[in-house]
């Protein structure tokens, strides 16, 4: 079974802090994704990566950056945390095939981040 592990289930930080969210997958997936999930807005893609050191912006990248130094690990960085970044953050991974669209994404259980 694919396992996607997020480093923390709950995290509380202060405004202006630099925040790191870590995600590790154990299935040698090429693709990795970071989403945030908010009531009424659903899941929104922040960044994704299709290979080591490669990244692409999603729909809401402002205020975030990412790092992918190893295939199994994808980090989300809040450069200077703000209260509007309080949210549930979900990491996902998927196998990259020639026909990518038919590969399901496997999710971690999320990090509930509160910025005070």
């Amino acid at each position: 079974d694919v396992k996607v592990t997020q480093s923390s289930r709950y995290l509380v930080k202060r405004t202006g802090e630099k925040v790191f969210l870590e995600c590790v997958q154990d299935m040698d997936h090429e693709n990795m994704f970071w989403y945030r999930q908010d009531p009424g807005l659903g899941l929104r893609l922040i960044y994704f990566s299709y290979d080591v050191k490669m990244k692409e912006k999603g729909d809401i990248p402002e205020g975030y950056s990412v790092s992918r130094e190893k295939k199994e690990r994808f980090s989300l960085i809040l450069e200077s945390a703000s209260t509007n970044q309080t949210s549930m953050y979900l990491c996902a991974s998927s196998f990259r095939s020639l026909r990518q669209a038919n590969q399901p994404q496997h999710f971690g259980d999320g990090t509930r981040l509160s910025i005070l």
Partner: protein, 112 residues
């Protein structure tokens, strides 16, 4: 812009009945569409994928239809059980992108 619409109101049904959830999309021509289940406090879990050339797909008590003319997918759970209570997300995809666009999800509550 691409838009995915799922009924935001919770769907409440009696155990044993068939639950039907709707996913509509606009400004979009997805080649594939996926459905996920999400339980409270957990990440989404993949259930089914249906391709544009497939009208219907089944897996045990689950059935998904895909109408590219109506730009709609229907997700059915037959003989529903309280354990089916969860939020169900649709995610149409386009072409060979690795990205998904998720609907907001519909919460299903099955009462015993």
């Amino acid at each position: 812009s691409q838009k995915i619409e799922q009924n935001s109101e919770a769907l409440n049904i009696q155990e044993g009945k068939t639950a039907t959830l709707t996913c509509n999309y606009t400004n979009y021509s997805p080649a594939y569409l996926q459905w996920y289940r999400q339980d409270p406090g957990r990440g989404p879990v993949f259930l089914l994928l249906i391709r544009e050339n497939e009208k219907e797909k089944r897996k045990e008590r689950l059935k998904v239809t895909f109408d590219t003319t109506l730009k709609q997918s229907l997700f059915h759970i037959t003989a529903s059980q309280p354990a089916d209570s969860a939020t169900y997300l649709c995610a149409p995809r386009s072409g060979n992108t690795g990205k998904l666009i998720f609907g907001q999800g519909t919460t299903l509550q099955v009462k015993p």
